[in-house]
Each structure stands twice: as structure tokens, then as C-alpha cells.
Symmetry: C2
């Protein structure tokens, strides 16, 4: 169910993001996961203090919400983020099966403050050979073995 | 520096992925982070057992490598993944500043085994209003506050 008033949660996230910066915990971003109007998790950017390039606010909040629910799915939940999610976080949003995303600042606002993830969107949407990070493919035949093991494994938990 | 023989590391990753499935730890994926020919971290998919939708092999390996190096950057390292990374993992690869990616199975192979992330690539490359997960924007003015706090914060660590 969607939150009735996304602005209240977004305002809370904005306050959290300001606090995150002022206390030296990381970058100017925060995110909340909301279920039926209740905040079930909150995350702030911890990239530099956790030495973790994946510790974006949205990822931190999603991981915390899943941990609290003991579930890798967040169907029925919404994400409230201070800024438009980067491609990594957007991917996580899809994998977590969140229902809806509310965001405040745009990617252009982020770029103006020195956080340019527009180039990552461009890279992802480019064919692999045209990307800046070289990606090369080897051993395709051997790489079928894990998939065969998966399809043979009767107790597999699909996700 | 690139690894001299990516196939050796890819083969090791493939073996790890098979073991990950057979021991019930998660999906059929593994990844290694290599620096100067030495494996500094390895990850396997733990989505279902860790209740963490972000626990893809690549993310697990990147987080572990960063933790071991106490650094949020992996310049000079390469990633060896059993399968073409999904958009979330590709985003993480850019944020971690990895030099190069070697992969074995293609996204088509993954789709044939039930792991279809092609639709996430399509969603990311679509304009936000056209995406399946609704994304709406509010409070843009208020959302400048975290960025202002960031630019005012003299001890900020950029990333």
C-alpha cells in the first residue's frame, strides 16, 4: 500500500541526510522504507565511513528492511529517497520488488553538488563493447555448469 | 594491472558457483576480485539465505574486497564473474572503480535458467515515467539542503 503522504517521509529523509553530513558519517543522501505508512528502515550514505562503495542510502535502507522482515522481498513497501536513485540503487529497487519510489532532488541537482551518476546511466545503456570499463567474455560453455546444478537442485529457493 | 590469465580465475569462480548451489547457500553465481594476479576477495550469491536482495556475488565480492583493503575504491583490481553482471552489480562496479570485468555466461544464459535481468536493463534505460515501478518527485527545493550542507562541510571526504 502506498504511503498517504510521501512528503512527510521525504522531509524526514532530508533531515536525516543533512544530519548525516554534519556528523561526518557520509554523503548527503538518506532513504526510508515505508510499509502501510510506517517507517520500517532508514539508511544514510556510508560509502566513505564504511569503506563500502555500495553503501548508498537506498541500499542501506533496503538491506536493513529485509533484515528486519527476514525476507529478500519488499512487496507492498515504498522507498522515499532524498535524491533520484543511481543505477545501482535502481537495480536494487527492482530486485527488492518495491512497489513505488518517491524522490526529492533530481540527478541534475546531485550532479551540481559533485555526484554525477548520469555517466553510469549512459554506460549501462551502451552495448558492453562500447563501455569505458572493458568487459570481456570467456568460458561460456563451462559457465553453464552452475545453471545446470541449479536446475538439478530440488531444494532451490527461487528469487 | 590486469590478471594475466582471466580463464583460471573464471574457472575457479565457476567451481565456487556450483558449490554454492550444491550446499544450498544461494543462486548459481560467484565472483572474484583480483589484484596483481592475486585473489583478494570472493563472493557467491546469498540473496535467499542472507535475506538480502543486494547479496549478488559481485556485490558480496566487492564489499569483501573493500573491507579487506579498508578502501571504498578498487582501482587496479579486476572482477571475474561467472555471469554477465546485472545492472545493480554493473553500477557497483563503476562506483568501486574496478579496472576491468571478465565474465563467463551471458545474460541470455542466465535468462534460460530463470534469471532474467534483461527487463531491468530495459527499465533503467527507459525514461522514469515509463518505468514499471512508479517514480514520483516531490520537494525538490527542500532537497537542496543536504547538498548545501555537503558543500559547506569542510571535512567532507569525496567519493
Amino acid at each position: 500500500m502506498s504511503s498517504p503522504d510521501p512528503s512527510t517521509h521525504l522531509q524526514d529523509a532530508i533531515d536525516l541526510a543533512v544530519e548525516n553530513v554534519k556528523t561526518g558519517r557520509g554523503g548527503p543522501f538518506a532513504a526510508l522504507v515505508v510499509q502501510d505508512g510506517t517507517v520500517i528502515a532508514q539508511g544514510t550514505n556510508r560509502v566513505t565511513t564504511a569503506s563500502d562503495p555500495t553503501a548508498h542510502a537506498e541500499i542501506v535502507a533496503i538491506r536493513q528492511a529485509c533484515d528486519a522482515q527476514d525476507d529478500f522481498r519488499l512487496d507492498g513497501c515504498t522507498l522515499h529517497a532524498t535524491c533520484e536513485p543511481c543505477p545501482m540503487c535502481l537495480g536494487a529497487i527492482y530486485w527488492a520488488r518495491l512497489d513505488q519510489v518517491y524522490y526529492a532532488a533530481t540527478r541534475e541537482d546531485a550532479a551540481a553538488a559533485g555526484f554525477d551518476d548520469d555517466h553510469i546511466y549512459e554506460e549501462l545503456c551502451a552495448p558492453p563493447p562500447d563501455r569505458r570499463v572493458p568487459m570481456t567474455q570467456h568460458l561460456r560453455d563451462a559457465a553453464q555448469r552452475p545453471f545446470e546444478a541449479w536446475l538439478d537442485y530440488e531444494d532451490r529457493v527461487e528469487y
